[in-house]
C-alpha cells in the first residue's frame, strides 16, 4: 500500500449489511409528515419546555450529523458553534434589544463565521488529528467565554427576553414559542435533507467514502469539507440561538466540552449517517436527563453505560439498526 490511509469515523461504523440502494422515494416524505403530525399535537401530552429542549438539541445533533455522517468528519468541539451562538443571540436580544428573528440570525452567522475560521484550520489534518484540532480550538473559545465580559462568566447571560416575532407575535408564552421552534426545527431538517440529497451531497458522500479517489476525479476535497463544516456550524448556531431564547439563558455549559461530547453521544446513539437518527438520539438523551435528573451525577454514569452498550451492541445506532432490518436507507 503506498497511499497514506486514514480511517474516517464514518468508515468505523460502516454497516456490515449495507442497506439496499433503491429507497421508496416517498418513504422520507411519509416519515417526515408523521413526525410533523406527532410534534404538532405533542404539547397536548408533554410540557412545551421539554419539547423545545428536545427540538433544540435534535437540531444541534442533526447539524453535527451532517458533518460526521455525511462529511465523515468527527468534530470534538461542536459546542462552540452552539454555545457562542447562544451568547450572541442572548446579547443581541437583551443588550441590543433586537427582535428574536434577528437575534437568532446573528447566532447563525456566529456559527457560520466561527465554523469558517476553525474549519479552515482543522480540515488541513485528517482523522483523529482533525478531531484534536477542533477540540483544541473549542477549548480556546471556551476560555475566551470564561474571560470575556459580555458572557458574564459563571452567571451567563440571564433573563434573555424572548421578544415579539417580527414585532407582532409575543413569544413569552411557551406554547406559542413551541410552534416557532418547531417551524425552525422542521425547516432545518428539510434543509439538511436537501443538502444531503443535492449534487453537493453526492460529491460529499464520494469524498467521505474514498477521498483519494474523489480527488483523482478532479474534486478539491478540502473545499467540500470546509463547505460542509460551515453548513453544519451554521445550523448548530441556529440551534444554539433558539436554545438561548427558549431557556432565556446562555451559559458556559453551552460552550463546554461536555456539550460537544453530548452531541456526539446523541448522534451515535440515534444512528449517524441517517436522517432521523440524531433526532431519536436527542430524544433519548434529553428524556433521560429530564427524568433521571434526581440521580444527579449518576446521569452521566448512565449515559456512559448507554454509550458503551451502543458501541458494543449496535454500532449503527437505534435508527441504523432499524434501517438495516428493513433494508432501507433512513
Amino acid at each position: 500500500m503506498t497511499m497514506v490511509q486514514h480511517i474516517s469515523p464514518a468508515q468505523l461504523a460502516k454497516p456490515t449489511n449495507p442497506p439496499r440502494a433503491g429507497l421508496p422515494a416517498s418513504l422520507y416524505g411519509r416519515l417526515f409528515i408523521a413526525l410533523t403530525a406527532v410534534l404538532l399535537v405533542a404539547p397536548l401530552a408533554l410540557y412545551p419546555m421539554f419539547l423545545m429542549t428536545l427540538l433544540c438539541f435534535a437540531l444541534f445533533a442533526c447539524a453535527f450529523n451532517l458533518l460526521l455522517g455525511y462529511g465523515g468528519l468527527l468534530s470534538f468541539g461542536h459546542a462552540v458553534y452552539f454555545g457562542m451562538a447562544a451568547y450572541v443571540t442572548g446579547h443581541a436580544a437583551k443588550v441590543w434589544g433586537l427582535g428574536p428573528e434577528l437575534s437568532v440570525l446573528l447566532g447563525a452567522l456566529t456559527g457560520a463565521g466561527l465554523g469558517l475560521a476553525f474549519g479552515a484550520l482543522a480540515i488541513r489534518r485528517q482523522g483523529i488529528y482533525f478531531s484534536m484540532i477542533t477540540l483544541a480550538l473549542a477549548q480556546m473559545a471556551f476560555f475566551f467565554c470564561l474571560q470575556a465580559t459580555f458572557t458574564h462568566g459563571e452567571d451567563g447571560i440571564q433573563a434573555i427576553p424572548r421578544g415579539h416575532l417580527f414585532g407582532l407575535i409575543d413569544l413569552s408564552d411557551d406554547r406559542v414559542l413551541y410552534y416557532v421552534v418547531l417551524a425552525v426545527f422542521l425547516a432545518g431538517l428539510l434543509g439538511i435533507f436537501r443538502i444531503i440529497h443535492s449534487p453537493f451531497g453526492q460529491v460529499l458522500k464520494a469524498i467521505r467514502e474514498n477521498e483519494p479517489r474523489a480527488i483523482s476525479l478532479g474534486y478539491n476535497a478540502q473545499r467540500y469539507k470546509l463547505a460542509v463544516f460551515v453548513l453544519s456550524s451554521t445550523i448548530a448556531g441556529v440551534a444554539g440561538g433558539m436554545k438561548a431564547l427558549v431557556f432565556q439563558l446562555a451559559t458556559l455549559t453551552d460552550v463546554h466540552w461536555t456539550m460537544s461530547g453530548e452531541v456526539v453521544l446523541m448522534t451515535l446513539v440515534g444512528g449517524m449517517g441517517t436522517v432521523f437518527g440524531p433526532i431519536v438520539g436527542a430524544a433519548v438523551i434529553v428524556t433521560m436527563q429530564n427524568y433521571l435528573a434526581h440521580l444527579g451525577a449518576w446521569v452521566t454514569v448512565v449515559q456512559g453505560a448507554i454509550f458503551v452498550a451502543c458501541v458494543l451492541l449496535f454500532r449503527e445506532g437505534i435508527v441504523g439498526v432499524i434501517a438495516r432490518h428493513l433494508r432501507w436507507r433512513l
Binding site: 497511499m3 460502516k14 443535492s198 449534487p199 453526492q202 460529491v203 464520494a206 474523489a214 483523482s216
Partner: protein
C-alpha cells in the same frame, strides 16, 4: 519528425527519508500510445503514478503534460487537465450505488457542484450515459446495487467505467487486472484497447502476456530507475531486464 509526447518527465525523483524510491526518471509517453510501466515489486511504479498525479510531491524533477509544466499543480487540478489515475487497491465509493459511482464522475461536467440547495434530481440527466458506460464494462445489471456488494473483479471494472466517464486525455491505470480471472482479463483488455482510441494510456501491469498483447511500448523500472525501454521483443530479450526480474525473485 519530432515525437509528440503527451507526458514527459525530467529527472523525476522521490526519496522517503533517505530511501530513494524513484531516481532520475525520464519517462516519455507518446500521445495515443498504450504504454506499459513494468518492473519487480517495489520498483517504484506506484510511486511514479503518485508523483505524476501529485499524490506525492517529487523530491526533484519536472513533469510536462500536454506541453504544460504540471509539477506544481494540485492532484485535483491535474485531473481537471485530463490526466486521470486509478489506484492499485480498488477505489470505488462503496456505499454509493454502482450508478452513482459513475455519475459522480460524469457530474464533473457541470463544474464543482457546490449547489447544496438543489435537488439531486438534476443529476438524472447523466443516468443514461452512466448506464451506457456500465454496459460497456458489463455492469449494467448491477446499477442499483451498492458498489461494496460487487466482487473484486467487478469493482475494478466499475473503477474503469468511472475513469472513462471523465473522458480523460490520458489514463494512468495501476494494475487494472490484478486479481482477475481469465474472462475478466479478456474483457478489460478489450475495453482498455477500445478506450485507448483517441487517448493515451499508461498502465502498470504484472501480467506480461497482457502487456505483450496490449502495449505499444514498455518501460522497465527497477529499484526506482529506468532499466530498459522499447517494444515487447526488445525489452523481453534484454538480459538486464531478465536479471532484474530473477534477482527480485530471489530477494
Amino acid at each position: 519528425m519530432p515525437e509528440d509526447y503527451i507526458l514527459a518527465t525530467e529527472g523525476l525523483s522521490k526519496s522517503f527519508g533517505g530511501f530513494n524510491a524513484v531516481t532520475d526518471v525520464d519517462l516519455k509517453v507518446r500521445r495515443g500510445a498504450i504504454h506499459a510501466l513494468i518492473g519487480p515489486n517495489g520498483a517504484g511504479k506506484t510511486t511514479c503514478f503518485n508523483l505524476l498525479t501529485k499524490f506525492l510531491v517529487p523530491t526533484a524533477g519536472r513533469i510536462q503534460y500536454n506541453g504544460r509544466d504540471i509539477t506544481r499543480v494540485s492532484s485535483a487540478g491535474i485531473a481537471q487537465f485530463g490526466l486521470v489515475r486509478s489506484f492499485q487497491i480498488s477505489a470505488v465509493f462503496p456505499h454509493l450505488t454502482v450508478l452513482e459511482n459513475v455519475r459522480v464522475a460524469l457530474q464533473r461536467q457541470r463544474g464543482f457542484s457546490f449547489d447544496f440547495w438543489r435537488s439531486e434530481k438534476v443529476l438524472r440527466g447523466y443516468d443514461a450515459r452512466a448506464l451506457e458506460l456500465l454496459d460497456e464494462v458489463g455492469l449494467a445489471g448491477d446499477a442499483d446495487r451498492n458498489a461494496s456488494e460487487l466482487s473484486y473483479g467487478r469493482k475494478r471494472a466499475l473503477e474503469l467505467a468511472t475513469t472513462l466517464a471523465l473522458e480523460p486525455d490520458m489514463m494512468l491505470l495501476d494494475e487494472p487486472m490484478a486479481g482477475m480471472g481469465h474472462e475478466d482479463i479478456d474483457r478489460i483488455s478489450t475495453l482498455i484497447r477500445k478506450a485507448a482510441a483517441g487517448r493515451t494510456v499508461l498502465m502498470v501491469e504484472h501480467n506480461l502476456s497482457v502487456v505483450a498483447n496490449l502495449c505499444d511500448r514498455i518501460t522497465v523500472l527497477a529499484r526506482g530507475r529506468i532499466l530498459a525501454e522499447g517494444d515487447y521483443a526488445t525489452v523481453s530479450g534484454d538480459p538486464r531486464v531478465i536479471e532484474a526480474y530473477i534477482g527480485a525473485g530471489h530477494a
